[in-house]
């Protein structure tokens, strides 16, 4: 079974802190994604990566950056956390084939105080 894991299920941080969210997949997937999920807004793509050291902005990249130094790991970085970044963050991965599904991690619920 494909496994996508995220470093924390719940995280509480203070405004201005630098926050790292880690995602690891064990299926040798080329593609990895970071989404933000908010009630009434669905899932919105923050960043995605289609190869090591490669990244592309999604729909809402402002305030975020990413790092992919190894194929299995994709990190989301909040350089200076703000209260409006309180949200559920979902990581996903997939092969780069046209019909391949994205496999999701359990999510990290981040609260910024």
């Amino acid at each position: 079974d494909v496994k996508v894991t995220q470093s924390s299920r719940y995280l509480v941080k203070r405004t201005g802190e630098k926050v790292f969210l880690e995602c690891v997949q064990d299926m040798d997937h080329e593609n990895m994604f970071w989404y933000r999920q908010d009630p009434g807004l669905g899932l919105r793509l923050i960043y995605f990566s289609y190869d090591v050291k490669m990244k592309e902005k999604g729909d809402i990249p402002e305030g975020y950056s990413v790092s992919r130094e190894k194929k299995e790991r994709f990190s989301l970085i909040l350089e200076s956390a703000s209260t409006n970044q309180t949200s559920m963050y979902l990581c996903a991965s997939s092969f780069p084939r046209y019909l391949d599904t994205q496999y999701f991690g359990p999510g990290t619920r981040l609260t910024v105080l």
């Binding site: 996508v4 593609n31 994604f33 009434g40 807004l41 669905g42 899932l43 919105r44 793509l45 995605f48 289609y50 999604g58 979902l90 996903a92 997939s94 780069p96 046209y98 019909l99 391949d100 599904t101 994205q102 999701f104 991690g105 359990p106 999510g107």
Partner: protein
């Protein structure tokens, strides 16, 4: 830009009954893929069913089937013989058929409650 609309934020169904979740999308592309994902409470999002736009036949997966109307840009999900485990958030998603573009566009989701 492509958009996906799920107009009903919540629905409920009695156990063993059938329910249909609606989804419409907007695109100028002719080739694309459509997906329904399920997110149970406090559990991971999983794929329910997928449909290639070039296929006229509607996809089915056990109790789950879709009604794909390409001209109307409609992609509804039918759940037959609803079970308590079907209670979840359901998301409709769209993806272009373009080499290297695996980005999904999601709808806002719909919460399904299954009553015993």
């Amino acid at each position: 830009a492509q958009t996906v609309t799920q107009s009903q934020p919540e629905m409920s169904v009695q156990e063993a009954e059938t329910v249909t979740l609606s989804c419409t999308y907007d695109t100028s592309e002719s080739d694309y893929y459509l997906f329904w994902y399920k997110q149970p409470p406090s559990r991971q999002m999983i794929l329910v069913i997928r449909q290639e736009a070039y296929k006229q036949q509607n996809a089915t997966e056990n109790r789950f089937s879709v009604n794909f109307q390409k001209a109307a840009k409609s992609f509804s999900l039918k759940i037959s013989d609803s079970q308590l485990g079907d209670a979840a958030m359901y998301f409709c998603a769209y993806r272009r058929d373009q080499g290297g573009s695996e980005k999904l566009v999601f709808g806002k989701g719909m919460k399904l409650t299954v009553n015993p």
